[in-house]
């Protein structure tokens, strides 16, 4: 009876442990990928259209789309070369990116037919703003 109990429970325990270990790892990579996406979007949003701002400083500042997309891509290439970035939308008002992490290796959760690797995606959006003096504004 106990042997049968162990035979049933052991795989369940291993999958549960896998959920903690592999799931935890994926959560951490998800957090890092989100930070990368936000950083890339902010890097893109820093590329404002200087010419437009100089012609009429009273109008709200706008993005220069092509340099914005290039800056976001260059940021990921520099800080996380194994990640992939797609600029999903860029116009004078904002930039949106989607970053895909490097493959995350799965160990115990392979018992539940997950893996052997998974990739994590995160999206980030940013827009040019003025008057920012501290994080969170």
């Amino acid at each position: 009876m106990s042997t049968a109990f162990i035979a049933v429970l052991l795989p369940a325990l291993l999958v549960l442990a896998g959920l903690a270990i592999d799931g935890g790892q994926v959560l951490v990579v998800r957090r890092e990928t989100q930070a990368l996406a936000d950083g890339a979007a902010r890097a893109g949003a820093a590329e404002i259209d200087e010419a437009a701002a100089r012609i009429d400083p009273s109008v709200p500042i706008v993005l220069d789309p092509a340099p914005a997309a290039a800056a976001a891509t260059a940021y990921i290439a520099e800080v996380a070369p194994t990640a992939q970035i797609v600029v999903t939308q860029v116009d004078p008002t904002h930039i949106a990116v989607r970053v895909t992490s490097a493959p995350v290796h799965i160990s115990l959760l392979q018992l539940a037919r997950v893996g052997p690797t998974v990739r994590v995606q995160a999206s980030g959006t940013a827009e040019p703003r003025t008057g920012i003096t501290a994080p969170g504004q």
Partner: protein, 136 residues
């Protein structure tokens, strides 16, 4: 015969209970370490962001460390081992700042770590805005 079978079952149940406890303690430990890693990632990102917004290179470390400490407290990284260092060597408009957050997980954080410690670190690089005019 019945006595032997019962003893056999008792030993197996004891083994199973031990295994269950070990797995559960391991899962709690892993969850604790994951929580610290998530906190460190947030500390590094926020510290780098604050450092990138610093009005001058002299204030980069201070701004980054203050922000990192505040975020770390929010993630319960409170055993005193949290350190935040900011690399300001490329601090300039359009440049980069890199923040590294490190933390030593001890038994104060996870009672299951009876004698051992786990050193963790995370880093984040932030672009310094090109157009800024901030008060000192």
């Amino acid at each position: 015969m019945r006595h032997r079978r019962r003893a056999h079952a008792t030993v197996e149940m004891g083994f199973l209970a031990l295994l269950l406890v070990v797995v559960l303690l391991g899962m709690v430990s892993v969850a604790g370490i994951v929580q610290v890693e998530m906190g460190l990632a947030a500390v590094a990102e926020e510290a780098a962001r604050a450092a990138a917004m610093a009005p001058s290179v002299a204030l980069v470390q201070e701004r980054g460390q203050n922000r990192g400490a505040a975020v770390g407290a929010g993630y319960a990284l409170r055993n005193g081992s949290l350190s935040v260092t900011v690399d300001a060597s490329r601090f300039a408009p359009g440049g980069r700042v890199r923040a590294i957050a490190a933390y030593r997980v001890t038994s104060a954080d996870l009672p299951m770590l009876v004698a051992g410690t786990v050193d963790l670190h995370r880093e984040h690089t932030e672009v310094v805005p090109r157009f800024r005019s901030l008060p000192p």
